[in-house]
Each structure stands twice: as structure tokens, then as C-alpha cells.
Amino acid sequence: MIALKRWCSRQSTSLLLLVVCLAMMVFLSIQTQSFFSLKNVVNILEANSYRLLLACGMMCIISSGAIDLSVGSILSFSAICTAMALKGGLSVGLSIPLALALGGIMGAINGLLIHFTRINAFIITLATAFLYRGLSLIATQGIPITKLPQGFRSFGCGDLFGMESGVTMALLVIVLLTPLFYHMRWGTYVTSLGGNPEALKRSGVPIGRYRVSVFVLMGVLSALAGIIVTARLNSAEANAGLNMEMDAICAVIMGGTALHGGRGNLPGTVIAVFLMGLIRNGLTILSVSSYYQQFITGAMLLCAVVIAEFRERKSRIG
């Protein structure tokens, strides 16, 4: 009983979000006929699989006390390089690892720059965001690369268990990330990077290696998201992934991860992504103008952080 109570209090953000989610689903089911259909649920999952990947990576980044504004740019540049490689005749089996490696390298550049210059991650990744986006524009000259081979498209968005394969990939990443983040050294050190990097360093842990590894993971996940987006649209373009880092940051914070790092909340992040997807889907179904979507997202984010802050203060006093 006590254990249950403690579990509930630790998972309170996730539970609260879940309640909001359920309330919204009930509301939408009553209001519209098309919401509560299997098709629509699949729609929501498919439309949010790549957002989920980005948010999971961003959760690790933020819990390590950093931020990554270059996510959307990494997504676009790695997608463009893949598309160019595919167009150049490289096989699908080689192009996809190439894309992931490229994402990892761009992430590593972020991590190394932050570690060695000791300049704030915000500034460094703001700069590399422009840098990588610039590379995308230079590479494509603004012209989307389209008509990609069928093999690539079936990898990125082909049918798997009746859903686009992106959904399966997102699930796989969650399943792998959960033990890595909660039950292995990596997660412990990554959150300590946000909690007290000096303490970690003084414990003899090579912090640079962990700092870089989080950014590499983010880069790889961005590239994976890029593959899914490109395969769905059958087109790689320089402005793909624009502002996606902001959606990811929003979901992470709404999901109960503090912006200053030190702790991460993976289930909360997953539910928050789903909730934001639900809002988008609900507004479309209710035929509400997209103007309201940003307003509602902003209001929810504000509520989430205010609730989290007050609970934090209360527990510190208590």
C-alpha cells in the first residue's frame, strides 16, 4: 500500500497527463463519430511516431542539463544525404546506416563542442542548427529530392503489424531506452550530468564521454526520425523538421522533466507526445482552426510547469 502510494507520487506527472488524455478521448468520442475508431487511433500513432523518437532523445538531453536546438536541422540534413545516396544508386541497406551514422556524427560534434569549449549547449546548438540547416539548403539548393526507391519507403513507412513501421521503431526505442535510462550506469551518469557534473567528475567518471554520448544518441534518433518523415513524404527537403525541436522540448517539459536537468521522466514524455498528438487530431476532427492549436499547447505547457513547480516547492518545504 505504501509502496503503491509512493509509486503514485513519483509518477504523479504521468498519471495527471494520462487523466487529461483519457478525459480528452472521452470528450472527442462523444463529440465526434470518427474519433473512437481503430483507424483514427492508428492515425494518431503514425503521425506521432517520429515526434516520439525526438522527444525521447530530448528527454535524455534535458535531463543531462543540456538542450539541443539542432534536432530539426540534423533530421533534415541526414535525410537529404540519405536521399542523395539513394538517388546516387546506393542500396537501402547501406543508406540507412549511413544516415544514422551521419546523425550520430552531427550529434557528436555538438557534444564535443559543448564539452571542450564549455560554452552553453543553447548557444552551441543554436549555432549548429543554422550550420546544419545551411548545409541542407546548400546541398539541395532548396529543391526537394523526391521519388525515392520503394525499398526505402517500405523501410520507413511500410506496413508492420498493420501500422507504419515508424510506430514499431518508436516502440522499440522506448523499450530499449527504458532499461538504459533507468537501470543502467548510462542513465545514472547522464542524469548526474544535469544534477551535479562536478560531483560526477570528482567520482572519477569521464564526464566528456557521457556528455558526447547523449548528443550522439539524440543525433541518431533525429536521423531515424528523418528517415521516417522522408519515407512517409517520399521527399527529402531542406525545411523538413523545422521547429520540431520545440515540439520535442515542449513534450519533455510537459512530461515532467525539469529544464535544469538532473532527472528525467520517460513515461511522462511519451504520454505528453501522445497528448499533443491528440490535441492536433482532435482539432482537425472538430474542424477547429489551426490557430487554436498553438494557443492550447501553450496553455497546457504553462499549466504543466506551474503545477510541477508548486509541487516541487511544497515537497522541499515538507
Binding site: S37, G142, K147, L233, S235, L242, S287, S290, Y291
Partner: protein
Amino acid sequence: MMKKWYSLLLAAAMLFSLAACGSSANVEGTPAPQESTPVVSATPAPEGEGADSGLSPTVQQLYQEFDAAMEAQIGTMPEQFGDIKVGAVVISLTNPFWVNMKNYYEAAGEEMGIDIDVQTGTTEGDTASQLDVLMTMADMDYDVIIVSPIDGTNLIPGIVKCNENGVKVINLGPGVDVDALEEAGGHLDATITVAFTEQGETVANDMISRLPDGGQVAILAGLAGAGQSEGRTSGAKSVFEATDNIDLVAVQNCDWDATLAYDATKALITEYPDLKGIFCCNDTMALAAVEALTAEGKEGVLVYGVDFTDDARAAISAGTMTGSMSYSSERYTKAALQMAVMLNEGETFENNIYLPLTLVTVDNVNDLEGWK
């Protein structure tokens, strides 16, 4: 409030054009279907009819010719039709052109008694979220969805889904890449668009007619790879190159951007002091070019744009700009809705429908009060 006003105006315009349509058919006979898309000449109309409609005779005539041309392509609107629910996916609701289109869609829907929802992605250029919207709409109870994609391929999975669910799809404006769509196993039920090459050709021809002695001309294009920009540029280019005494000295991409167009114009005029005319692929760039010419103290250079925005209208009235390509957005949405109804009633459209275009110039701009 705004909406009410629009619909009132629309109703008046509609009544008038219907009446006018009938009479013109009697006098001139039904226009024969044309191979190429009709260009409506914007010569002042004879005075007399409809003085109290608030529209100038020129506009009334334009509407008449427009409707006639559309009828030739689409056919007549059925008198009675079954219940229909139409969805429209537009490019953005933060760009004035598309905001206007949304308003015209809704006004036309109200007037024709059609249920219409206009939706869009979160931000302009967000190809993925525009697709998400269409994917969701495909599973709803729409009979017809009118799509205006951000680029040639981003909506393809959504269109395929509509095909599978038996929802009819009309492509309005920026074109879907038909080959890629076919490859993905989908099809469009109808297409209504503007012939971009023709916009370029019309401007180029008008410019040449104003330059009897020929001379140097230049083109400021939009974003490289954007269909509108490529079409307008190639149209104008082919006409210029086919004319002996015209020398096309530069084609420069300015990405629809005013600042880039301003700087490009300054550079052009320095390099080619005898430049006689500039065709800009939209009005934003054309107005910037006018600014640059004024700043350089250069007079008499012909500047043309596309879109006929309010600012362009003012500049043409003031004589600083020579002309701008225009078409009626109001009629555009109305025609699309009519096509939606006809598709729903079982009709098919084999060919692409092209919107009649109008070139507004210093000669006719003052006759175009009320044109939209």
C-alpha cells in the same frame, strides 16, 4: 461581421453575373471550348448595364468572360444536388493569400449551401503536419477534399488514403506530382489550377508591346524549384528569347524576398544602365524593384509582378509599376466547390481545369474597382 459583408457582396456579384451570363450568351453565343486556356482581355467594357451593382463595367465584363470560360471547361452547376460535405486543406493560414482563400471558400460554401471545413498544418512550410491533417480528414465523413499541397509530394500518402476510402480529391493550385502519386498507387479526381507559364508569357508579350524599339530586360524569379516560379520564368523566357530585338540579360532567383529583390535590382541597374523592363515572379519582389529603381533615380523601366496585391494595385495606379497578373480568387474557390458537387453527383473531369487569367496594367487598373 466580415463574413456577412463578404457573403452579401458575393450574393450581389453572383446575381449580377448570372444575369450577365445569360445575356452575353444570347448576344455572342456560347464560347467554343478552347485548346489553350483562355486569357481574358481586360479592355474597358461598354457602359450601360448594372450601374448600381458597385462593380465597374470592366469588372462586370471580366466576371462574365470568366464565368463563360469556366462554364466551357467545367459545365453548368446542377440545379439540385444531394448533401455534400467538403474539406479543404490549404497551405497555411499565416499567409494573406491563403487566409483570403479560406474566407472565399467559406463564403462560397455558405452561398451554395455546401458544408465546408478549411484546415491547414501548424505552420507554413510544415509539410509533415499538413499531411497529418489530411490523413485524419481522410478517415472522416468528407465526400470531397480539395488539396493545395505545400510541395509536389508531401500529401501523396494522404491522397492515396482518400482514394482507398472513396473520398474524391481535387487538387487546387500548386500541383501534386502526378507521376509520384501514380507510383504510390493514387490518383486525382480533378485538378484546377493556374497556368504559370501562361502568366509569364502574357507579361512578356505585354512588355514587348510596350517596347517597340526592343532593349534589355531581366527576370527576378522566386524560390528555385518552386513550381510557380519555374513556370512563370520559363513562360516569360521563351517569349523574350523568341523576340529578335529583346535581350534577356539576367534571370535571378530572389526567393520571393523583398530585400533580395531590392539588392538584385540595384545590381542589375548598375550593370545594365539601359535596362528597359523587369518581370518579377510576384508582387512583393516587383514592389521592391520599384523601390530600388526610385532610390537609383531611374525612371521609365517597366516593372511587372504577379498576384495583383493591394500594394501592387496602388503602385500600378500611381504608375510606378506597369502591371500585374491577376485572377479572381473568389471565382477560383467557387469553381472548385462546383467541381466538388459535380464529382459527388458522379461527373468526371478528364482534363485539368485552368483558371482564366487577367493582366492588370496602368491602362485598365482604374476600371478594376471591386475585382477580387
